[in-house]
């Protein structure tokens, strides 16, 4: 006996489960990129009720339903939902196969027959708690169980094959893309209509694929399960499609993570000793935090509360672009510090400290300076140190670079007396002097397309009577002594 757990509209459900619950009651569609642009791939019940169908273009779908909510596929969330589905499967049996996205097949031979249905019901309940609405089908073969799951609401047991199969739409047997239009042209819309055709004639016309389809339509396929192993690494990861700037969407995602990881821990008969949280930020930095729990727990509420308490005190310097949550599994409260632990005892704490420093001085002031690709003088950005320094590029450039400039940071405001358009005398807070020689001016300007960032400079190289070569910069707001040449 086999059971199939199936999540209808899997890719869409995977997204909706991390969004506010109210969204699920609105018409929502998931788009897929096609040859002629994006089309509706999946739609929820509300969208379907409004007349939206898979294959509709977005404008056509919106013509049916003006308040349509549109989402695009998020593989990371699908991965997460798939792991949750497997966890639900492992709560019943270790014989679990990931058959297709949103579909897992369970081998139930070892389970007494009277415990099968309650176990599957419980798994459906676990999935519902994870905000995944699944159906289940029972049958003597994996294929029939899958068909049963496809037309179950929420569960269905199949015994009489022929009567069950005959009215099912032909799409149930998943005809190959090149055969589907032929069958439609033949007027074949159900499995029964297909199996009514002589098998040999179908094989003659549609070849090996047609024969396989006919057999699938007859439900006769028997195969062993390709069993997957349960995860021993209690990790959940998510790379956001859109940056998260507020706490609420992050908590939605973490809640789903915690629910699924807690289920996996329970399946493995373990408990969480610590929670490790890592937030990847848009500025390529990370916020990580390890929360040691007072005692091992599997209760998702407690785990979530620990995270929530921590996050309410956190202010990240940049939006969040990725999340990772790891539960440290353990069996009891008994735990010993590692004998050879060295270096940073708490690297996450160090990162936390760095984040606090960043909060004090600003995210743009922590890192390694890198020059920017612009004509703007002295334009740089700060980047995280690379794992290794890149080698210098080969090649010969002319002219060679001139004298090295020691920049004043910040540049010294200056007052300049002009002789015509040429600097003749310079005052700064540090001193003053007559200019005996000049070179320039050099003009540069840029970012004219940005109303608040455009800039315009005029540069002069000057030699003072008292000695020394300096660079002067003129901006619309005044003169600056920018640095001294070596």
């Amino acid at each position: 006996m086999f059971a199939v757990l199936r999540i209808p509209g899997f890719a869409l459900q995977a997204i909706l489960r991390v969004e506010p619950a109210a969204l699920a009651s609105q018409p929502v569609v998931l788009l897929a990129e096609g040859r002629r642009g994006a089309t509706v791939a999946l739609c929820n019940d509300a969208a379907q009720a409004a007349g939206v169908r898979p294959g509709h273009s977005v404008p056509r779908a919106q013509a049916h339903c003006p308040n349509l909510v549109v989402r695009t596929a998020q593989p990371a969330l699908e991965q997460e939902a798939e792991t949750a589905l497997l966890a639900a499967g492992f709560s019943i049996t270790p014989q679990v196969e990931l058959t297709a996205p949103g579909v897992c097949t369970l081998g139930l031979e070892h389970l007494p027959s009277h415990r099968r249905a309650p176990a599957v019901d419980r798994a459906l309940g676990e999935l519902a708690a994870l905000r995944l609405h699944a159906t289940a089908g029972f049958a003597a073969t994996p294929l029939l169980a899958l068909y049963a799951a496809r037309c179950a609401a929420p569960g269905r047991v199949v015994t009489g094959d022929r009567a069950f199969l005959a009215p099912l739409p032909i799409a149930t047997a998943e005809p190959p893309a090149d055969l589907a239009p032929i069958l439609t042209a033949w007027g074949i819309h159900t499995l029964g209509q297909l199996t009514a055709l002589p098998k040999s004639d179908v094989a003659q016309r549609l070849g090996r694929e047609g024969l396989a389809l006919w057999e699938r339509a007859a439900g006769a396929t028997i195969r062993p399960l390709n069993v997957v192993a349960p995860s021993r690494d209690f990790v959940a990861t998510y790379a956001c499609e859109h940056e998260m700037e507020t706490l609420e969407p992050l908590l939605f995602i973490l809640r789903r993570f915690v629910d699924r990881l807690a289920l996996e821990l329970r399946n493995a008969h373990q408990a969480a000793l610590a929670v490790e949280l890592e937030l990847n930020l848009a500025d390529d930095t990370r916020h990580t935090r390890s929360i040691r729990l007072p005692e091992p727990v599997t209760n998702p509420e407690l785990l979530f509360r620990a995270l929530q308490t921590h996050l309410e005190t956190v202010r990240t310097a940049a939006p969040i672009v990725g999340v990772q949550l790891r539960l440290e599994p353990g069996r009891s409260q008994v735990r010993q510090q590692g004998l050879f632990d060295g270096g940073l005892r708490d690297p996450h704490g160090f990162a936390d400290t760095l984040a606090r420093v960043m909060a004090l001085v600003g995210s743009d002031r922590v890192g390694r300076p890198m020059s920017l690709n612009t004509h703007r003088p002295d334009a740089f950005t700060l980047e995280a140190p690379p794992p290794a320094l890149a080698p210098l590029p080969d090649g010969f450039t002319h002219p060679p670079r001139g004298l090295a400039l020691r920049r004043f940071r910040p540049p010294a405001p200056a007052k300049v007396e002009l002789d015509g358009r040429t600097p003749a005398y310079v005052w700064t807070a540090e001193g003053e002097g007559a200019v005996v020689a000049t070179a320039g001016p050099w003009h540069s300007s840029g970012e004219w397309w940005e109303a608040y960032r455009h800039w315009q400079h005029e540069e002069w190289d000057v030699e003072f009577a008292a000695g020394g070569f300096y660079r002067l910069r003129r901006e619309p707001t005044g003169w600056l002594l920018e640095g001294e040449y070596d």
Binding site: P59, R60, A63, W186, F396, W448, E450, A451
Partner: protein
Amino acid sequence: MSDYVELHAASAFSFLRGASLPEQLAEAAGQLGLPALALLDRDGVYGAPRLYASANEHKIRPLVGAEITLADGSVLPLLVQNRTGYQNLCRLISTAKLKERPTELRPDNLAPSEDPHARKRRCFASWEEIAAHATGLIALTGDEEGPLCRAWQRGGADAVATALVPLKTIFGPDRLHVEIQRHRVRGEETVVEMLVALAARERLPLLATGGALYAEQSHRIVADVFACLRNHTTLDAGGRLLSANENRHLYSAAHMQTLFRDHPAAVANTARLAGELEFTLKNLGYRFPDFPVPSGESMETVLHDRVYEGARKRYRTLMPAVCQQIGKELALINRLGFPGYFLIVWDICRWCREEKQTLVQGRGSAANSIVCYALEITAVDPIEHKLLFERFLSEGRQGVDGHPSWPDIDLDLPSGDRREATIQEIYQRYGQRGAAMVANVITYRGRSASREVGKVLGLADDVLDRFSALYANGDFPQTLGLTEQLKASGLSDAHPRMPAMLALCGHLRQHALPRHLGQHSGGMVLCPGRLDEIVPVENASMPGRTVVQWDKDDCEDLGLVKIDFLGLGMMAVLQDCRALCHARGRPFELYEVPLDDAATYKMMQDADTIGVFQIESRAQMATLPKIMPAKFYDVVIEVAIVRPGPIVGQLTSPLLRRRAGKEKIVCLDPEVHDALLGTLERTYGVVLFQEQMLSVAMKLAGFSGSEAEELRRALGFHRNDERLKRVTEKLRTAMLARGHSERVTQKVADSVATFALYGFPESHAFSFGLLAYVSTWLKVHRLAEFYAGLLNNQPMGFYSPATLVQDGRRHGLRTKPICVQRSDWDCTVEDDHTIRLGLRYLTGLREAHARLLLAARAQRPFDSLNDFLRRVPLPAAERRALAAVGAFAGLTSHRRAALWQVEAAWSADESLLQSVDAGPETIPLPAMSFVERVQADFAGLNLTTGPHPMQLVRDRLRDLWRATDLALGRDGERVVIGGSVICRQRPGTAKGVVFISLEDETGVANAIVRAELFERLRMVINEAPALRITGRLQNQMGVVHVQAENIARLEIDEVPLQASHDFH
């Protein structure tokens, strides 16, 4: 005279580099007091005619040159010294553009993905080619992209010495100048010092240039945008690809003397060198080819003989008026030296008709000439229709700077292969370098340009999508202001990039900077010798075509003769129809069709014109019952009046009211009524045609023939508005000086502005009117042949084949489905009321395979489906497609039986079994239902030859008015209509109003949707394939519309519908 001349400027015709038009450079140079300006565009002289045309006005001498890309990617500036030099430059560029390159010779800057053999590959010249064309040219060492600076950056002084060798060898010390530029960019001084030292060492003259990329500082933003487009990046990511500052503009002599005060000779040398450059485009040396005549004859005598021979054929009896007009025209043609031109066009038309059996008809002002009529170039009799010959040809016609302006002869040919054959014949006659297509400069003006700018600015795709969607379509003018358009696209006033977007789009809209070079729709220039010595020739994207670097206005300005070979779908229909009629014993000739056929006019009056030329659109059909055409000139008016120009100029309503006798005829204004009566009487006092506009200008402003010619050219000059503004002002001044009131003057000025919006010349309207009339006549009298011709030349016109088939059905024409035993590739006529759909309509069936089928059938008919499968080895998909649309009817019991059998066909590798003829087989599939057959028809043919799909669902749509019943409704009555949407139209002239056409089994119903309702229901209206529209019936003067009040989807998903033709 100024001591400085800018000898290295580039315009926007250095595509995606220069940021100003040649005219803007000329204006700036004039304002700066420069005596001359040399335009050196990249690999071309694209902008030279425009600089030349505006140079006089700004009192500068327009010097010619070009930057030539070398194989290593560096760029060599060349200046033209004399005509030989110009000819060499043109040939050098043509060679660089046309010559196939060996694969190993790739320019350094060619991306690995670029094919060096591609027709539009990056062009470059080798040193050998430069040496072969160096006479008469002067070389500069170039700017930062020049060979010396590139060598310096790459390898220092040694590399510079090596790079100088070929330059010195080819040009010598007297024709090579070391060019220095200062743009106030840190680091450039090292280069200047290097070049100055080099010049001293090599005893070469120094030359200071500005390397101008734009006329004024404010254009730098465009140069930066172009740099991004060229490098496929955005402004944010552009970095050092963008310019460091805004100093690449034109400078005055004083500025350059200050900038180069340490090298005064470099500035002074510019004036000296400019003095040595004697060539301008005035010395182009172009002449039109002669027509070869037998010895002892002259072109004049041959033309005389051909004209009289043709006139006798056309008129049969030569009346004195005809002879007099012919004599007058021939005398003028001979005096102006144009007989060769007429003979060449005559010979092309003769070749089309006699050797290629191709229909050809002249359009445009040639229709005013009896010579053209007699030579069978045109089909409209100018004597009968009182057309003004002077509009076509007069002694006052001159181009820029006294170049002769040749008359226009535009030829309409059947679109497609037949037109291409004619173009290739011209190449054959004059050689690949003796004839070429005229260029069409694609400009940064429309939606794609703004979209590109938006992308460069990093604006979101959804904003740009909305911005693009708000552009007017087709011929209709853009009426939405730029700011409003941006706001409506979702870009708020506060957006930090709003000012930049406004500035850039405003600049591009106003100046229409060139984007790339396309080819004109059909214009060709001819030359007796080498055209590539007059203007560089390059490959067009289309194989077998070459294109010159100038557009039609440039060619006209410089006296190059252009002949237009235009493709018209309706000409192809007429030709096919004529052939079918001849084959069926019902021949007709275009010029023999009687122009007084009552049934033809009745069809027009009933607006029953689906499928006919021009007057089939919704707007035309709404006007026909008001015009009520009863004579040919009414058709001419009908063709001309439903155009954006007359609509925007609000000419339509007065003309219709006056024609209906509801308004007194006033010729423009009571003040000038008497003076203009003779000119405007035919059009009820309204200035409808361009000829009338010119005549009004001559009568009211006293314009001379050449001034009228200036006005005519300004009206047809769409490049920018400046020329029109100037001539309008001249007209106003002249009218006021002659004592006309401000009111009348303003009315005339308004008319001029209206005509710039695509007004028709009367002769053109005659040519198009004739096609409209003849196509209607054919629909009345040659129904089957006409529809067969129409269906064989799709896509064209306003309606889809599905609508045409249904329209034919309503006129008693039966369209039979595709049949392997009967159908040809084209649709064929079976009898006067029956046509057979051609195999061309079957989606997925390749023509070569269809020809195999036809060849097999020609041997003997198929006696069974297995016989067909055995003898016609088609791919499975094509067999299936034939079976699905019922093409095996007669060979099988039903479509599904055929579908079942074709799948059992043995594959090619089982040929042994093909000889085994399977016996009768039981078909396990049921026959298709009626709806399934219609669905299969639409899936395979995009139409059905059976009843209209609406007929299948009519029983459950009893509340809908049928299209045909609307004419019986009361004006103002509330009605509900429904059907498949065959057209959505939102003309820019209609203030946001949308016109929707719904088709049902009885015909087409039209609805008018207010802008507000459209905006509210935009998605439903644009996306639903069938609509249910509730509204008030407007039934006035035979024109029936529904003023929509509510619109919803018509839920008839069970039946398939055709796709709509949309214009919004």
